[in-house]
């Protein structure tokens, strides 16, 4: 390791890095703007100047830019040298000539990198007296504000948006001091990663528009470490609360998962928590006709009942009653703790997964693939390091967006290798990107649509799910001829399969991405063969990213009780049971946990199921279609109000903490069930031991302890969270910053007496500004702060090296899944090829980052963008049916009639359409049984289709001094 001297002190440092990275990793303060640990150096801002000396005798030295200077053994540098200080100060003064100094009204204020760096440079007096450049701002959609006058032209936004995230509709426009970062025209930013601009921008040009609606300063937000629940990647987040409302979500660095970036669904989907549909009280339904109104008989009204009364009613379900059966319906969006509590409440044999048969089978398939000795679960950095990727049947941009962002980086490995050969450091970002003359590490996508990664693929196969599976089987056979062969594959597909197999076999870090996105078990089976073949070839497990749709899909499948009826614990089974019970004169009581059955199975079946049940109890966050049909409703806490555990796609169990207490009677679902157990034990003399155990659950840790005893696969999870008695020098970790304002007076409008702070005896965190702050271990640290570093970039101070791992260890526990039963050998059931029928088009599911997630759809911004969801139609079918892009089309699927806008796709084979799933306003279409539909034109698109890049508008650059 090279030894260098900085300001007279000797350090041993990492070879090959740049000086800025090195200084920051050593904990030294050196201001910077354009450099970003994830994006490398370009040398634009000139802020990180240091003095470099030729040798010990050299007393003058020369200025170099830290970010552009590789450290060399024996190098002598000075950050404190007067000329370096003067220059950095001069750069700030130059930047400030056009900055409006509007910090008091700027939403970045208090967490502004520009403020921090300005302070750090020591520049205090500005001599510039001229007028300032002004710009017109743009409407960038529901998520992001634009205030270009604050811009210091560091180019980070476009480097992130275009080069890192692959966006095309944000660019640097104009030149000289009037450079403008914006779109050609007003309009919502197209990238699903645009929200990171808020954190990438070092000042207040791009700020969170959802936050503006209920703004609070960073230091006034109460925060806790949380985990995103809008897909199964498990990105770490820091939600912020004030006055009992959730204000925003920002990224929480995790070196193995999200790093510095989130997707927009995760960042902006939080507003469902503040929604008017939020359940806050215990409600008991009554028949409307009892109230003597004219409403129809089935319509229920929901008078509030006391929580005690509610718990009493819930406890009644525990009394033995041979005339009824109590069924628990779990949920892939509820925590391990809540699902487990329900399972314990109703008994293992009465616990059902709360998903359709197909979904249950896919969950099982994914779990089994996870547990296979042939696979290894990759972290996000592992995905970025892949040098050959095969995506089979998954549109990750929409089902696991953060994975898609990582895949976009993986294709650059070829160029990075080229740079290394030419001895160009990989952090020299502009230089490395310059080397890129089109070569990429292979990324082959086989999916039902081209997907948003199509611009970086080496090969693309768009086909029906069964054909994708066949292609996967063919790849496996090519890798290992003992795997079953596929007959009747077309020549081009055969060639592509050989190519993909070659790529995977010759790669150092091959990666398979698959999942349940096509709702096809065949694809999982084919993936199974590929990993088996490749693992045999490599004599090592294969990195396999298995994508499931919901935050706790994998966790829920681990909770599936090992009963003889396993694999059948799905909603169809419940529906059947309800009917059988009815016929047998038995009543069925359903306890439904955080689940809207109408979005899970055919709405008719859901209807029958609910109608056939004697009692329906729902514990949920929002008023859903199912909640509206319940007899008893308990308000469940949202993730940000909960302590609990999710198991991500990676197989990482992650624990999160409540940011604030839910209002009114909101509490975690398991607490309602435990309350009922307690009530039951208190009012009965005989009770089963598992109910007695539940009655004693007081803390989340108690549930976790019971959980790991009951579920072998979850061993160790009760050790993930630091114990609730964990203290730092006798202190809990404070949720409020040391600068939190107004604590003694913020509720004075309600009562002049100072409100007592809520007490949290369930976790090592306190609802207070008192306690430990920046000393917290990563699992408990929600917001990083260091003296002089108020922005998110203070995370530098908590990493082993900038952009590396958090000191104290990354949080979460990677579970080791054990495969049930022995290796079952090759999967041999190869599906038949898809045969297109011009009259009846196959319906294939299409997932939308905005629109296919139940909870985030209640965030107004997400809902606005979900309206963009379109039916993907093959150009071949469209020509035949005289349908043009953006036309309104109708689909008749069984007895459901749908209308939506069409989007034509030339890559899509004839005979299938991709139907967006979960979109508000569209009925749920159950795709468990293959669905076919006739397609017809309803209405011609009113105007000429708006192209993605409209013709040049007037330049947005206006104003200025001249």
């Amino acid at each position: 390791m090279p030894k260098i001297k900085i300001d007279g002190k000797e350090y041993e440092v990492e070879a090959g890095q740049n000086l800025l990275h090195t200084c920051l990793s050593l904990g030294l303060d050196l201001p910077y703007f354009c450099w970003h640990p994830e994006m490398g150096s370009v040398g634009a801002c000139r802020q990180c100047a240091v003095t470099q000396y030729a040798n010990e005798e050299d007393e003058r030295g020369r200025l170099v830019m830290g970010c552009m200077t590789p450290v060399t053994d024996g190098g002598i540098y000075s950050i404190g040298d007067q000329s370096a200080q003067d220059f950095r100060s001069a750069v700030i003064e130059d930047l400030m000539t056009n900055h409006p100094h509007d910090c008091p009204v700027c939403e970045e204020g208090g967490e502004c990198h520009l403020q921090d760096m300005t302070e750090m440079s020591g520049h205090t007096v500005r001599y510039y007296e001229g007028s300032k450049r002004t710009h017109v701002n743009q409407d960038l959609g529901p998520f992001i504000n634009h205030e270009m006058n604050r811009c210091i032209t560091c180019y980070r936004c476009v480097r992130y948006y275009r080069e890192y995230a692959g966006g095309t509709d944000l660019a640097a426009l104009g030149r000289n001091y009037q450079v403008y970062f914006g779109r050609q025209q007003d309009g919502a930013l197209e990238s699903e990663f645009a929200g990171n601009l808020v954190e990438v921008c070092p000042t207040g040009v791009f700020t969170d528009k959802t936050f503006s609606g209920h703004y609070a300063r960073k230091w006034d937000l109460q925060t806790a470490p949380s985990v995103c629940n809008h897909c199964a990647v498990g990105c770490n987040t820091t939600p912020g609360e004030r006055y009992g409302a959730l204000r925003r979500v920002v990224n929480r660095y995790h070196g193995d998962i999200n790093g510095y970036f989130l997707c927009d669904r995760g960042r902006f989907g939080y507003e469902y928590v503040n929604s008017e549909l939020r359940l806050k009280r215990v409600l008991g339904a009554a028949e409307k006709d009892l109230l003597a109104t004219t409403a129809t008989k089935d319509t229920k009204v929901f008078p509030e009942i006391s929580p005690q009364k509610g718990v009493q009613k819930l406890a009644e379900l525990l009394s033995p009653d041979s005339a009824r059966q109590v069924i628990g319906i779990g949920s892939p969006r509820a925590t391990l703790e809540n699902n487990f509590a329900l399972r314990q409440f109703v008994g293992d044999e009465n616990f059902y997964l709360g998903v359709s048969p197909r979904a249950a089978s896919l969950m099982e398939g994914c779990k089994s693939l996870h547990a296979s000795p042939d696979t290894r679960s990759p972290t996000i950095p592992d995905i970025e390091a892949a040098d050959a990727v095969f995506i089979l049947g998954e549109d990750v941009s929409n089902t696991a967006p953060r994975v898609a962002l990582a895949l976009r980086q993986s294709v650059r490995n070829a160029v990075l290798d080229k740079a290394r050969k030419l001895k160009i450091p990989t952090w020299q970002d502009a230089a490395v990107r310059q080397l890129d003359d089109g070569e990429r590490s292979p990324l082959f996508i086989a999916a039902t649509e081209p997907t948003r990664l199509a611009d970086v693929v080496s090969g693309l196969l768009v086909a029906a799910p069964q054909d994708l599976a066949r292609f996967g089987f063919a790849v496996a056979h090519t890798i290992d001829p003992s795997a079953p062969a596929v007959t009747g594959l077309s020549q081009p597909q055969q060639r592509a399969a050989v190519q993909v197999a070659e790529w995977l076999m010759s790669a150092r870090n091959p990666l398979l991405v698959t999942g349940s996105g096509c709702q096809s078990e065949d694809i999982i089976e084919a993936s199974r063969n590929i990993t088996r073949a490749l693992a045999k070839h490599r004599a090592a497990p294969v990195n396999t990213c298995i994508v499931q749709p919901e935050a706790n899909s994998l966790g829920l499948s681990l909770l599936q009780p090992e009963t003889p009826t396993a694999h059948q614990q799905h909603l169809m089974q419940v529906a059947q049971l309800v009917e059988e019970n009815q016929e047998a004169g038995l009543g069925t009581c359903l306890v439904i946990l955080e689940n809207d059955l109408f979005t899970r199975i055919d709405p008719h079946i859901a209807e029958r199921l609910i109608r056939g049940a004697k009692t329906v109890v729902v514990l949920d966050v929002l008023l859903t279609g199912t909640t509206q049909r319940a007899d008893l409703i308990f308000p469940a806490s949202a993730v940000v109000e909960s302590q609990g555990t999710f198991v991500s796609n990676e197989g990482r169990a992650q624990h999160f903490y409540p940011v604030y207490e839910g209002s009114d009677y909101i509490q975690e679902s398991w607490r309602w069930l435990a309350d009922a157990a307690l009530y039951f034990c208190q009012h009965n003399t005989e009770f089963p031991p598992h109910i007695e155990a539940m009655a004693n659950w007081e803390h989340t840790a108690d549930v976790d302890a019971a959980l790991q005893n009951a579920v072998p696969g979850l061993a160790g999870i009760s050790e993930i969270p630091p114990d609730r008695n964990f203290r730092i020098s006798g202190l809990k970790v404070a949720r409020q910053t040391h600068r939190y304002s107004g604590r003694t007076a913020m509720y004075a409008n309600l009562c002049v007496a100072e409100k007592k702070q809520p007490v949290d005896d369930d976790s090592p965190l306190s609802y207070s500004m008192e306690g430990a702050h920046s000393e917290a271990p990563p699992a408990l640290a929600s917001s990083s702060w260091a003296p002089g570093w108020n922005s998110n970039q203070s995370i530098n101070k908590f990493q082993d090296e900038v952009g590396g791992h958090l000191r104290g260890g990354e949080s979460g526990l990677r579970l080791t899944l054990e495969e049930a039963g022995s290796d079952s050998g090759w999967k041999t059931e190869i599906p038949n090829a898809f045969a297109a029928d011009p009259e009846q088009l196959l319906i294939v599911p299409r997932y939308c980052v905005f629109g296919s997630d139940e909870l985030s759809n209640e965030a107004p911004g997400v809902r606005e963008l979900s309206a963009r969801a379109k039916l993907l139609v093959s150009s071949l079918d469209a020509d035949r049916l005289d349908i043009r892009n953006h036309d309104r089309v109708g689909l008749q699927i069984r007895d459901q009639d749908l209308e939506l806008d069409a989007e034509l796709c030339a890559d899509l084979p004839a005979g299938m359409v991709c139907l967006p799933m979960g979109i508000p306003g569209l009925p749920h279409i159950d795709l468990d049984i293959s669905a076919y539909a006739g397609l017809r034109l309803v209405q011609r698109a009113a105007t000429a289709p708006v192209s993605r890049n409209p013709s040049p508008d007037i330049a947005p650059e206006t104003g200025g001094q001249q």
């Binding site: 000139r46 001599y127 032209t153 000289n176 310059q434 080397l435």
Partner: protein, 435 residues
Amino acid sequence: MKASTPLTKNIGPENIAATIEQYQANGGYAGLKKALSTMQPNDVVETVQAANLRGRGGAGFNTGLKWSFVPRGEGSPATKYLVCNADEMEPGTFKDRLLMERDPHQLIEGMIISAYGIEAVRAYIFIRGEYHLAADRLEHAIEEAYEHGYLGHNICGTKFSLDLYVHRSAGNYICGEETALLNALEGKRANPRAKPPFPQVSGLWGKPTVVNNVETLCNISHIIANGPEWYRGLGKGADAGTKLFGVSGRVKNPGTWELPMGTSIREIIELHAGGMQDGYKLKAFLPGGGSTDFLGPEHLDLPMDYDAIGKAGSRMGTGTMIILDDKTCPIGMVRNLMRFFAKESCGFCTPCRDGLPWVEKILTDIEQGKGSVRELDQLAQQVWNMRPGNTFCALAPGAAEPLQSALKMFRKEFLDHIERGCCPYEAAETRFVGA
């Protein structure tokens, strides 16, 4: 036939371009035929290196040496490019325009030989957008060259093939910076690139590329035809060859002339440019275009060669002088230059993007008599901020050159403006109106 003014031998008084017939009749394309029939590519590189031809765009780097950095021969990348930098936007410079408008084939022949030397498969002339006449004439000449088999497949019956294109710039001074030019040619923003990699290794579309100035390339055919010794002998002093020198400002006969390297400044101004106009005295001059330091009358006897001008504290640059007379406000002149550079900054790095507009503003204030002494310190600070290495490319350091020398040479004039609260030259009817 060995002319003492090879670059302009085909250029007459009339504003017409030499046709290919006229060009050939006067020895044109002989160099190309010689190179293709008797020389290996490496011989071309070595010959040019031996001729000590230095880049005529301003930096003065040995052309043959620059070429030698291109990976050539077996195992080297098959695709390489030659780019002619015809984005002549240096204030006060109009030499390349003459060469392209009047004798386009000289440039074309030079490019074909150069491309042969560096084994390029395609060549581009990146030409300033305003030079539409030159572009039209070049395009016509290129057609002629194709018709005569000097371009296209199997040139002159050899295995060597080359395509040549004219690319009209959308405008921007920064496109004269070779890496910004490459970005512009690729259709990207004209921001300079990080070096390394240098264009010779990874240039246009990531392929090895050489970028040379028009005048540089125009020398090549003559060097090949007549040999490096002949070429070195053309210069009067340390540097080889002839050069187009120009003079603008209040002289009797502003223009551009081909003269031996090392010709004295006095000869250029007094003999060729006819001396100062009546009633005006020479106060100072920028020897090599707008981005060079001022020199004064005491430097008139210096020879125009790279090192001599460098020693005197300026640069030879493009060799085209801008004269400041005694009745023109020097602050106005510098302000005008700074306005140009501030507008032409690409906007990438801070000292240039935000420093130059501030400089312009201070100079405007001072010129209008609203300046203060403190502002002179700010100007000095800005000059320091823009030192080479402090900025991403050479634009700002170049822009700072006339300013830093003006602050030294014209301190009295600056103070005059500040103390009087007005421009002392106002009355004398001659505010500087533009280079």
